[in-house]
């Protein structure tokens, strides 16, 4: 625990009142540091007040939603207080005719789904399915750019978020984007916040574009396929007359799960075309649900580090060979050239797999690391690109208030 913990707690309590501040506990630890305080601001103004105090007093804050991804990035160097966003909750506005929804950052994906499902006469959803499930907050999903199988069709938070409100580390309140999908006014600061691991700003509100929930879906499964056959399949999917919602290869299972959606007539046609191209079997409803729900949490269940990999999609077969050599399990979004792999928490394994993926023309970044892997989160921490990232962090958070050291480009703060 930080020696200044009681002082930090007192400062924050003076600002927010005792009810919004409590002492940090073991369960609140971030990267092994038990915070002096956990603050739970009830609104954006209170977030700004907390940040202003932290900036003035030199405190470090770590933003937390549901806490499902606190091990992402590098462990922050300091953590005087956890800023819990869960009282920033609720849907601000759902405009079904415009397919947009404005949501406070601490709202969970389950809560959002509930509100959207309850809208009479509309079938809309936010097609974002990161493996941490419905308990995670939207703010957390945006700050980590976490994604799941639906990414193949709908993209990540980068593609679904159209606007945000946020608070910088010094308490400056800003907003970017807006409530219309098409909008090029000003810098797209929202894009910078996606995947920034809470190091550039505290996201307080997010506006997302929604999609119509499809009338029909079909899932197909190909089993016991060799790496070479799966590689060929990925290439054939490129020109198939279908619009894939998801295409996931699981290894070492050696399976491919394909999914299409649309009108009932459309999915019948597309599933038939896919079955012919791939040799995959069209699943009945019960089996499809079982396969889909088992897939969406992989490869996150179980011990070990989890890495995100990117590679040229034509090298799928080679990537699967690497998975056999290094990974406990791997799930590949076959049409995108991205994968998630669960690995032993060994710097040597990470370094070897990283080098091998780089030889394919790709890269590896750790999502869920661990103390042993703190120095291995990213491929490189030098170069003019990283210098720009660092300049950005220094410009937006000069005092290093927000999770100092957690993100690439924050090396100076890491001391």
């Amino acid at each position: 625990m930080s020696t200044a913990a009681p002082a930090a707690r007192a400062l924050l309590a003076r600002e927010l009142g005792d009810g919004a501040v409590r002492e940090g506990a073991e369960a609140d630890a971030v990267g092994g540091i038990v915070p002096g305080a956990v603050v739970t601001p009830a609104g954006e103004e209170a977030v700004a007040a907390v940040c202003a105090v932290a900036h003035r007093e030199g405190l470090a804050l770590v933003v937390r939603g549901a806490g499902t991804k606190q091990r992402w990035g590098r462990p922050p160097r300091r953590c005087d207080a956890v800023l819990d966003t869960r009282r920033l909750d609720g849907v601000v506005e759902h405009a079904p005719g415009d397919l947009v929804c404005t949501v406070r950052a601490g709202t969970t994906l389950d809560e959002l789904r509930g509100v959207l499902d309850a809208a009479p006469g509309h079938r809309q959803w936010l097609p974002l399915d990161p493996p941490q499930g419905g308990i995670q907050t939207l703010g957390g999903a945006v700050a980590t750019a976490a994604s799941g199988p639906l990414r193949a069709r709908y993209g990540t938070a980068r593609d679904l978020v159209i606007g945000a409100r946020y608070v910088l580390g010094d308490g400056t309140v800003g907003h970017s984007g807006g409530k219309v999908v098409k909008n090029v006014a000003g810098y797209d600061v929202t894009r910078l916040l996606v995947g920034s691991l809470g190091t550039l700003a505290v996201i307080t509100e997010v506006t997302v574009r929604l999609h119509p929930r499809p009338a029909a879906t079909r899932s197909l499964l190909l089993e016991r396929a060799s790496a070479a056959r799966l590689g060929e399949l990925a290439d054939r999917l490129r020109t198939a007359p279908v619009v894939l919602t998801a295409a996931d290869v699981c290894w070492p299972d050696a399976t491919a799960r394909l999914r299409v959606e649309g009108t009932e007539e459309g999915v019948v046609e597309q599933a038939a075309a896919l079955a012919e191209i791939s040799g995959a079997r069209i699943l009945d409803v019960g089996e499809a649900e079982a396969v889909d729900s088992a897939l969406v949490v992989r490869p996150w269940r179980g011990e070990g580090a989890v890495a995100g990999l990117a590679f040229p999609r034509t090298r799928l077969a080679d990537l699967l060979e690497l998975a056999s050599a290094y990974a406990t399990e791997m799930v590949v979004r076959a049409t995108l050239g991205v994968a998630e792999a669960r690995l032993p928490e060994s710097p040597e394994v990470v370094a070897q797999l990283r080098a091998a993926v780089a030889r394919l023309g790709g890269h590896l970044a750790l999502h869920r690391g661990g103390a042993a892997l703190a120095g291995a989160a990213w491929p490189s921490e030098t170069g003019p690109e990283v210098a720009l990232m660092r300049a950005l962090k220094l410009s937006l958070d000069p005092a290093g208030v927000l999770a100092p050291g957690r993100a690439l480009g924050d090396v100076e703060h890491a001391g």
Partner: protein, 482 residues
């Protein structure tokens, strides 16, 4: 300009690629929004990333401001030069460097035109999805700067979604690679903020684009309506039913007449026309098309017609793309506005525009990307009538107020540039603008890279008098716009 600086520029790009003659540099004084003009001190025309970087290093050392420029077709004054500054024109960098169909990527130089990318990959059954109306002349570098859209971004997304990586010369002359051929580059998404930054964060010298397979089926249909409001209702109804067409475009009587006169597209005689395109797997298209037809008739459509051939489809689109230029046939001058509203608010906003027409005694043509609520009102005026151009600009600004009142945006695809920098405080709080300033400062601490664009400055917005105050009204109407 200082002789040593000019020598440095000549050493960087070659003597023949540095222009200083008044007649030569005057050609770079404005972009597609011709009301804003400034003649640069010099123009450099690099052929490679290294040349561009070397030139920028010279300018950075001398603290001379510069403006990157592609084809100069922008409609917000984003590429207007700086007096005493330098234009870095990328138009000579027009090679398609690599096409990798199996990985669905093309690597191009920034001067390559938007349409040339699609042409380069058409033989493989692929295309480049963003399709601004100026696609045959506008450059990819400009598209990156503006985050260009086009009719088909309703379904396919904007330039942001189709640029995987760029090579960029920073304001200090360093060469950085942001993003790349594969997704998820570690670290902050600098590429995400560079796309759409209007040339203020660096000069993009190479671009990796995502290619998209041509859909198996593509059908264009039109629907005629006797009022803009019922056409607007049809658009809302289509989207509300969960249908996402590839494009939904709307034109009013004035723009239809102009476009018809220009290209003879065979549009029906009506108050409002919807042009709807659906694409994808065949069965999906047929189902969706039937639904669109039904919805349009229910909303009061008087005629619906499916293009019966590829030639007819191309003709329908040619009329739409020619709509801006065709306005020259019905009005001596016009100002193209670009605003966005939630598409469910089309009816009230169009009524508001009609009221403004009456208030100002000027005609406003309406042609727009109705599917995503992106309006392009064309404010008609005669620059030779005293005071009319001022009235037109004022009316155009009032349309932005209507957009903002409905929760929309002051620009959907043309950018802020010089033209709308002073409107930014209407849309963004002081805090939000301060954050944008801090982003800009991180990339360009010396303020050399396309200064006075995108963000409001006291000088530009008239809060403080200064020696250089480009007054759009004084020069509007000097020439027809592209």
């Amino acid at each position: 300009m200082d002789a040593a600086v000019l020598d440095g520029l000549r050493a960087a790009v070659g003597a023949s690629a540095v222009l200083t003659e008044p007649a030569a540099v005057r050609a770079y004084e404005c972009d597609g929004l011709t009301g804003h003009r400034a003649v640069p001190a010099a123009v450099v025309l690099p052929l490679t990333t290294e040349q561009a970087a070397a030139a920028v290093r010279v300018l950075h050392r001398a603290r001379i401001a510069f403006v990157a420029r592609g084809s100069g077709t922008g409609l917000s004054g984003g590429a207007v030069a700086i007096t005493e500054g330098v234009v870095v024109c990328l138009a000579r960098m027009r090679s398609v460097l690599a096409v990798d169909i199996a990985n669905e990527r093309a690597t191009v130089q920034p001067g390559v035109t938007n349409l040339a990318v699609s042409e380069a990959v058409a033989q493989h059954g692929y295309f480049y999805a963003p399709d601004p109306s100026s696609g045959s002349v506008c450059s990819i570098g400009g598209n990156v700067a503006e985050n260009s859209g086009g009719a088909h971004c309703l379904k396919y997304g904007f330039t942001l979604h189709h640029v995987c990586g760029v090579t960029m010369v920073t304001a200090a002359g360093d060469v950085v690679r942001l993003g790349g051929a594969v997704p998820d580059t570690p670290g902050y998404d600098l590429l995400g903020v560079v796309v759409g930054s209007e040339g203020t964060l660096g000069i993009v010298t190479e671009v990796i684009l995502r290619l998209v397979p041509r859909p198996p089926t593509c059908i264009t249909t039109l629907a005629a309506f006797d009022s803009m409001e019922s056409a607007g209702n049809a658009v809302s109804a289509i989207v509300s039913e969960g249908i996402l067409p590839a494009a939904v475009e709307m034109m009013d009587r004035l723009t239809l007449e102009a476009a018809e006169a220009a290209v003879h597209a065979g549009y029906p005689d009506c108050e409002a026309l919807l042009l709807v395109e659906v694409d994808g797997p065949d069965a999906e298209c047929r189902t969706v098309l039937a639904a669109v037809d039904r919805i349009c008739r229910e909303a009061g459509g008087t005629e619906t017609r499916v293009a019966s051939s590829a030639a007819e489809r191309a003709l329908l689109w040619r009329g739409r793309r020619a709509a801006f230029a065709a306005m020259g046939r019905v009005s001596p001058d016009y100002y193209v506005q670009d605003g966005v509203i939630p598409r469910t608010r089309l009816g009230p906003v169009l009524n508001g525009i009609r009221e403004l027409e009456r208030e100002y005694g000027l005609r406003v043509g309406n042609v727009f990307h109705a599917g995503d609520g992106n309006l392009h009102p064309l404010v008609c005026y005669d620059g030779h009538v005293a005071g009319e151009s001022e009235k037109a600009l004022e009316l155009a600004g009032r349309i932005l107020d209507l957009c903002l009142a409905e929760g929309g945006s002051i620009t959907g695809e043309h950018g802020v540039g010089l033209d709308k920098a002073c409107h930014m405080p209407k849309m963004f709080s002081a805090g939000a603008l301060a954050v944008m300033e801090r982003v800009r400062h991180a990339f360009d601490p010396d303020g050399l890279c396309n200064p006075a664009k995108l963000l409001p400055t006291p000088r530009l917005c008239g809060e403080v008098p200064g020696p250089y105050r480009p007054h759009p009204i004084e020069t509007a109407g000097l020439a027809e716009r592209l």
